[in-house]
Protein backbone atom coordinates (compact mmCIF):
# COMPACT_ATOMS: atom_id res chain seq x y z
CA UNK A 1 0.00 0.00 0.00
CA UNK A 2 1.95 3.07 -1.20
CA UNK A 3 0.53 6.06 0.59
CA UNK A 4 1.71 9.07 -1.43
CA UNK A 5 -0.46 8.63 -4.56
CA UNK A 6 -3.42 7.88 -2.29
CA UNK A 7 -2.82 11.07 -0.33
CA UNK A 8 -2.42 13.14 -3.49
CA UNK A 9 -5.68 11.77 -4.81
CA UNK A 10 -7.32 12.49 -1.47
CA UNK A 11 -6.17 16.11 -1.54
CA UNK A 12 -7.50 16.46 -5.06
CA UNK A 13 -10.87 14.99 -4.04
CA UNK A 14 -11.18 17.03 -0.83
CA UNK A 15 -11.66 20.28 -2.80
CA UNK A 16 -14.77 18.76 -4.42
CA UNK A 17 -15.89 17.41 -1.05
CA UNK A 18 -15.61 20.84 0.56
CA UNK A 19 -17.73 22.36 -2.22
CA UNK A 20 -20.25 19.56 -1.71
CA UNK A 21 -20.57 20.13 2.06
CA UNK A 22 -20.63 23.94 1.85
CA UNK A 23 -23.18 23.84 -1.00
CA UNK A 24 -25.36 21.34 0.86
CA UNK A 25 -25.16 23.36 4.06
CA UNK A 26 -26.13 26.67 2.42
CA UNK A 27 -28.99 25.07 0.45
CA UNK A 28 -30.28 23.33 3.62
CA UNK A 29 -30.14 26.62 5.57
CA UNK A 30 -32.08 28.38 2.81
CA UNK A 31 -34.73 25.63 2.56
CA UNK A 32 -35.15 25.47 6.36
CA UNK A 33 -35.48 29.26 6.58
CA UNK A 34 -38.11 29.21 3.79
CA UNK A 35 -40.16 26.52 5.60
CA UNK A 36 -40.11 28.32 8.97
CA UNK A 37 -40.62 31.72 7.29
CA UNK A 38 -43.69 30.49 5.40
CA UNK A 39 -45.37 29.14 8.53
CA UNK A 40 -44.36 31.99 10.85
CA UNK A 41 -45.46 34.72 8.43
CA UNK A 42 -48.82 32.94 8.07
CA UNK A 43 -49.84 34.84 4.92
CA UNK A 44 -50.51 31.73 2.80
CA UNK A 45 -53.66 29.59 3.34
CA UNK A 46 -52.99 26.48 5.53
CA UNK A 47 -53.58 23.90 2.77
CA UNK A 48 -51.14 25.56 0.41
CA UNK A 49 -48.62 26.15 3.23
CA UNK A 50 -48.66 22.45 4.06
CA UNK A 51 -48.11 21.54 0.39
CA UNK A 52 -45.21 23.98 0.14
CA UNK A 53 -43.42 22.89 3.34
CA UNK A 54 -43.80 19.23 2.27
CA UNK A 55 -42.19 20.10 -1.06
CA UNK A 56 -39.40 22.05 0.70
CA UNK A 57 -38.78 19.08 3.04
CA UNK A 58 -38.53 16.65 0.12
CA UNK A 59 -36.11 18.97 -1.69
CA UNK A 60 -33.99 19.34 1.46
CA UNK A 61 -33.95 15.55 1.95
CA UNK A 62 -32.68 15.13 -1.61
CA UNK A 63 -30.10 17.92 -1.15
CA UNK A 64 -28.70 16.27 2.00
CA UNK A 65 -28.78 12.77 0.47
CA UNK A 66 -26.69 13.98 -2.47
CA UNK A 67 -24.41 16.59 -0.83
CA UNK A 68 -23.90 15.05 2.65
CA UNK A 69 -24.47 11.31 2.11
CA UNK A 70 -23.09 11.37 -1.45
CA UNK A 71 -25.83 9.14 -2.85
CA UNK A 72 -25.68 8.97 -6.60
CA UNK A 73 -25.11 6.78 -9.61
CA UNK A 74 -21.32 6.46 -9.17
CA UNK A 75 -20.32 2.75 -9.26
CA UNK A 76 -19.35 2.65 -5.55
CA UNK A 77 -22.62 4.30 -4.54
CA UNK A 78 -25.03 2.33 -6.71
CA UNK A 79 -25.79 -0.31 -4.07
CA UNK A 80 -26.55 2.32 -1.44
CA UNK A 81 -28.78 4.22 -3.83
CA UNK A 82 -30.79 1.16 -4.89
CA UNK A 83 -31.27 0.10 -1.24
CA UNK A 84 -32.35 3.63 -0.38
CA UNK A 85 -34.90 3.76 -3.22
CA UNK A 86 -36.42 0.45 -2.08
CA UNK A 87 -36.59 1.77 1.50
CA UNK A 88 -38.24 4.97 0.31
CA UNK A 89 -40.84 2.83 -1.46
CA UNK A 90 -41.49 0.88 1.78
CA UNK A 91 -41.71 4.11 3.80
CA UNK A 92 -44.20 5.62 1.37
CA UNK A 93 -46.31 2.45 1.52
CA UNK A 94 -46.25 2.28 5.34
CA UNK A 95 -46.99 5.98 5.90
CA UNK A 96 -49.60 6.65 3.19
CA UNK A 97 -51.20 3.23 3.76
CA UNK A 98 -51.57 3.83 7.53
CA UNK A 99 -52.92 7.35 7.11
CA UNK A 100 -55.36 6.24 4.40
CA UNK A 101 -56.66 3.19 6.24
CA UNK A 102 -57.04 5.02 9.56
CA UNK A 103 -58.73 7.98 7.89
CA UNK A 104 -61.23 5.62 6.25
CA UNK A 105 -61.80 3.84 9.53
CA UNK A 106 -62.58 7.16 11.22
CA UNK A 107 -64.89 8.32 8.44
CA UNK A 108 -66.79 5.03 8.20
CA UNK A 109 -67.10 4.43 11.93
CA UNK A 110 -70.72 3.89 13.00
CA UNK A 111 -71.95 7.26 14.34
CA UNK A 112 -72.42 7.11 18.09
CA UNK A 113 -75.26 8.84 19.88
CA UNK A 114 -74.03 11.57 22.29
CA UNK A 115 -75.26 9.53 25.28
CA UNK A 116 -73.25 6.49 24.21
CA UNK A 117 -70.22 8.62 23.49
CA UNK A 118 -70.35 10.18 26.98
CA UNK A 119 -70.72 6.79 28.59
CA UNK A 120 -67.75 5.32 26.74
CA UNK A 121 -65.64 8.43 27.45
CA UNK A 122 -66.61 8.26 31.13
CA UNK A 123 -65.93 4.54 31.39
Amino acid sequence: MSSSPVLAEARHASGGLLRSYVGGFLLSLLLTALSFGLVMAGRVPPGLTFGLITLLAVVQLLVQLVFFLHLGTAPDQRHNTVIFILTALLITTVVTGSLWVMHNANVNMMPMSPALENRSAGG
Binding site: M1, L7, A10, R11, A13, S14, L17, L18, S20, Y21, V22, G24, F25, S28, L29, T32, S35, F36, V39, M40, G42, P46, T49, F50, I53, T54, L56, A57, Q60, L61, Q64, L65, F68, L69, D76, H79, N80, I83, F84, L86, T87, L90, I91, V94, V95, G97, S98, L99, M102
Partner: protein
Protein backbone atom coordinates in the same frame (compact mmCIF):
# COMPACT_ATOMS: atom_id res chain seq x y z
CA UNK B 1 -0.81 1.59 8.97
CA UNK B 2 1.71 -0.91 10.26
CA UNK B 3 4.00 1.97 11.24
CA UNK B 4 1.72 2.96 14.12
CA UNK B 5 1.22 -0.50 15.64
CA UNK B 6 4.58 -1.09 17.39
CA UNK B 7 4.06 2.02 19.55
CA UNK B 8 0.76 0.74 20.91
CA UNK B 9 -0.02 -1.18 24.07
CA UNK B 10 -0.03 -4.99 23.74
CA UNK B 11 -3.82 -5.19 24.13
CA UNK B 12 -4.40 -2.60 21.42
CA UNK B 13 -1.86 -4.33 19.20
CA UNK B 14 -3.67 -7.66 19.56
CA UNK B 15 -6.92 -5.97 18.66
CA UNK B 16 -5.39 -4.37 15.60
CA UNK B 17 -3.98 -7.70 14.49
CA UNK B 18 -7.44 -9.26 14.50
CA UNK B 19 -8.72 -6.30 12.50
CA UNK B 20 -5.83 -6.71 10.11
CA UNK B 21 -7.12 -10.21 9.41
CA UNK B 22 -10.50 -8.68 8.70
CA UNK B 23 -8.96 -6.40 6.11
CA UNK B 24 -7.73 -9.32 4.06
CA UNK B 25 -11.35 -9.89 3.04
CA UNK B 26 -12.80 -6.42 3.23
CA UNK B 27 -11.51 -2.91 2.54
CA UNK B 28 -14.28 -1.49 4.75
CA UNK B 29 -16.78 -0.87 1.97
CA UNK B 30 -18.80 -3.98 2.86
CA UNK B 31 -19.03 -2.87 6.48
CA UNK B 32 -20.23 0.56 5.39
CA UNK B 33 -22.79 -1.06 3.07
CA UNK B 34 -24.01 -3.23 5.96
CA UNK B 35 -24.27 -0.16 8.17
CA UNK B 36 -26.26 1.58 5.43
CA UNK B 37 -28.71 -1.36 5.42
CA UNK B 38 -29.04 -0.98 9.21
CA UNK B 39 -29.78 2.74 8.73
CA UNK B 40 -32.48 1.90 6.20
CA UNK B 41 -34.10 -0.46 8.72
CA UNK B 42 -33.90 2.38 11.24
CA UNK B 43 -35.72 4.48 8.63
CA UNK B 44 -38.58 1.98 8.80
CA UNK B 45 -38.81 2.41 12.59
CA UNK B 46 -39.12 6.15 12.07
CA UNK B 47 -41.61 5.61 9.21
CA UNK B 48 -43.93 3.66 11.52
CA UNK B 49 -43.53 6.28 14.28
CA UNK B 50 -44.31 9.07 11.79
CA UNK B 51 -47.36 7.10 10.56
CA UNK B 52 -48.53 6.66 14.17
CA UNK B 53 -48.03 10.34 14.86
CA UNK B 54 -49.88 11.24 11.63
CA UNK B 55 -52.87 9.15 12.69
CA UNK B 56 -52.94 10.47 16.28
CA UNK B 57 -51.90 14.11 15.68
CA UNK B 58 -55.49 15.36 16.00
CA UNK B 59 -56.35 13.30 19.10
CA UNK B 60 -55.60 15.87 21.80
CA UNK B 61 -58.38 14.48 24.07
CA UNK B 62 -59.48 17.99 25.05
CA UNK B 63 -55.95 18.78 26.21
CA UNK B 64 -53.43 21.19 24.68
CA UNK B 65 -53.01 20.88 20.89
CA UNK B 66 -49.85 21.37 18.85
CA UNK B 67 -50.43 25.07 18.22
CA UNK B 68 -50.77 25.75 21.98
CA UNK B 69 -47.48 24.00 22.78
CA UNK B 70 -44.90 24.47 20.03
CA UNK B 71 -42.59 27.47 20.01
CA UNK B 72 -41.30 27.79 16.44
CA UNK B 73 -38.27 30.09 17.06
CA UNK B 74 -37.10 27.57 19.69
CA UNK B 75 -37.49 24.68 17.20
CA UNK B 76 -35.71 26.74 14.52
CA UNK B 77 -32.73 27.12 16.89
CA UNK B 78 -32.66 23.36 17.55
CA UNK B 79 -32.80 22.78 13.79
CA UNK B 80 -29.90 25.17 13.20
CA UNK B 81 -27.77 23.43 15.87
CA UNK B 82 -28.30 20.00 14.31
CA UNK B 83 -27.75 21.26 10.76
CA UNK B 84 -24.50 22.99 11.75
CA UNK B 85 -23.34 19.79 13.50
CA UNK B 86 -24.05 17.82 10.32
CA UNK B 87 -21.94 20.32 8.35
CA UNK B 88 -19.04 20.25 10.83
CA UNK B 89 -19.04 16.44 10.62
CA UNK B 90 -18.63 16.93 6.87
CA UNK B 91 -15.55 19.07 7.58
CA UNK B 92 -14.22 16.24 9.80
CA UNK B 93 -14.74 13.81 6.88
CA UNK B 94 -12.70 16.10 4.61
CA UNK B 95 -9.86 16.24 7.15
CA UNK B 96 -10.11 12.45 7.45
CA UNK B 97 -9.70 12.11 3.69
CA UNK B 98 -6.62 14.34 3.88
CA UNK B 99 -5.25 12.25 6.79
CA UNK B 100 -5.01 15.14 9.28
CA UNK B 101 -5.76 13.63 12.68
CA UNK B 102 -5.78 16.81 14.79
CA UNK B 103 -8.18 18.58 12.42
CA UNK B 104 -10.48 15.54 12.40
CA UNK B 105 -10.51 15.58 16.22
CA UNK B 106 -11.17 19.34 16.28
CA UNK B 107 -14.23 19.08 14.01
CA UNK B 108 -15.52 16.02 15.88
CA UNK B 109 -15.34 18.01 19.13
CA UNK B 110 -17.21 20.91 17.48
CA UNK B 111 -19.82 18.44 16.15
CA UNK B 112 -20.17 16.97 19.64
CA UNK B 113 -20.70 20.45 21.14
CA UNK B 114 -23.48 21.35 18.69
CA UNK B 115 -25.10 17.91 19.13
CA UNK B 116 -24.98 18.34 22.90
CA UNK B 117 -26.59 21.79 22.53
CA UNK B 118 -29.40 20.20 20.50
CA UNK B 119 -30.02 17.50 23.11
CA UNK B 120 -29.91 20.03 25.96
CA UNK B 121 -32.58 22.13 24.21
CA UNK B 122 -34.73 19.05 23.60
CA UNK B 123 -34.49 17.87 27.22
CA UNK B 124 -35.41 21.39 28.35
CA UNK B 125 -38.40 21.39 25.98
CA UNK B 126 -39.58 17.97 27.22
CA UNK B 127 -39.28 18.88 30.92
CA UNK B 128 -41.16 22.13 30.25
CA UNK B 129 -44.00 20.20 28.55
CA UNK B 130 -44.22 17.71 31.42
CA UNK B 131 -44.22 20.58 33.98
CA UNK B 132 -47.19 22.33 32.34
CA UNK B 133 -49.16 19.07 32.33
CA UNK B 134 -48.55 18.20 28.67
CA UNK B 135 -46.60 15.01 29.30
CA UNK B 136 -46.88 11.82 27.25
CA UNK B 137 -49.77 10.63 29.49
CA UNK B 138 -52.00 13.60 28.62
CA UNK B 139 -53.31 12.52 25.20
CA UNK B 140 -52.71 10.16 22.28
CA UNK B 141 -51.25 13.13 20.38
CA UNK B 142 -48.67 13.77 23.12
CA UNK B 143 -47.85 10.05 23.50
CA UNK B 144 -47.10 9.86 19.79
CA UNK B 145 -45.16 13.15 19.92
CA UNK B 146 -42.91 12.08 22.81
CA UNK B 147 -42.32 8.65 21.26
CA UNK B 148 -41.35 10.02 17.85
CA UNK B 149 -39.26 13.01 18.94
CA UNK B 150 -37.84 11.08 21.92
CA UNK B 151 -36.69 8.23 19.67
CA UNK B 152 -34.86 10.73 17.50
CA UNK B 153 -33.36 12.31 20.62
CA UNK B 154 -32.16 8.89 21.84
CA UNK B 155 -30.49 8.32 18.48
CA UNK B 156 -28.70 11.66 18.75
CA UNK B 157 -27.62 10.78 22.31
CA UNK B 158 -26.24 7.44 21.06
CA UNK B 159 -24.46 9.41 18.33
CA UNK B 160 -22.90 11.67 21.00
CA UNK B 161 -21.58 8.64 22.93
CA UNK B 162 -20.20 7.20 19.68
CA UNK B 163 -18.57 10.57 18.86
CA UNK B 164 -16.86 10.66 22.26
CA UNK B 165 -15.61 7.09 21.78
CA UNK B 166 -14.27 7.91 18.31
CA UNK B 167 -12.45 11.02 19.56
CA UNK B 168 -10.75 8.78 22.11
CA UNK B 169 -9.94 6.08 19.53
CA UNK B 170 -8.53 8.70 17.18
CA UNK B 171 -5.80 9.43 19.72
CA UNK B 172 -5.43 5.85 20.97
CA UNK B 173 -5.10 4.16 17.55
CA UNK B 174 -4.42 6.98 15.09
CA UNK B 175 -6.01 7.15 11.63
CA UNK B 176 -5.80 3.43 10.87
CA UNK B 177 -8.17 1.49 8.63
CA UNK B 178 -10.47 0.46 11.47
CA UNK B 179 -10.86 4.00 12.82
CA UNK B 180 -11.49 5.30 9.29
CA UNK B 181 -14.15 2.66 8.72
CA UNK B 182 -15.87 3.44 12.03
CA UNK B 183 -15.80 7.17 11.31
CA UNK B 184 -17.33 6.48 7.87
CA UNK B 185 -20.21 4.65 9.57
CA UNK B 186 -20.63 7.37 12.22
CA UNK B 187 -20.68 9.99 9.47
CA UNK B 188 -23.59 8.19 7.75
CA UNK B 189 -25.37 7.87 11.12
CA UNK B 190 -24.97 11.55 12.00
CA UNK B 191 -26.09 12.89 8.60
CA UNK B 192 -29.00 10.42 8.68
CA UNK B 193 -30.22 11.91 11.98
CA UNK B 194 -30.35 15.34 10.38
CA UNK B 195 -32.48 13.88 7.56
CA UNK B 196 -34.93 12.45 10.09
CA UNK B 197 -35.03 15.84 11.84
CA UNK B 198 -36.08 17.54 8.56
CA UNK B 199 -39.19 15.32 8.64
CA UNK B 200 -39.70 16.02 12.37
CA UNK B 201 -39.66 19.81 12.12
CA UNK B 202 -41.80 19.77 8.97
CA UNK B 203 -44.46 17.20 9.86
CA UNK B 204 -44.56 17.54 13.65
CA UNK B 205 -43.80 21.16 14.50
CA UNK B 206 -44.62 23.22 11.39
CA UNK B 207 -47.64 21.12 10.39
CA UNK B 208 -48.88 21.15 14.00
CA UNK B 209 -48.91 24.93 14.04
CA UNK B 210 -50.63 25.49 10.69
CA UNK B 211 -53.35 22.82 10.88
Amino acid sequence: MSVTYPTQLPAAGAQSASHGHDHAHDDGSRTVLGFWIYLMSDCLIFASLFATFGVLAGSAAGGPAARDLFDLPYVATETALLLISSFTFGLASIALRAGRKEIVALWLVVTFAFGLGFIAMEVHEFTHLVEIGAGPDRSAFLSAYFTLVGTHGLHVTAGLVWLAVMIHQLFAFGLDGVVRRRLACLSLFWHFLDLVWICVFTFVYLRGVIV
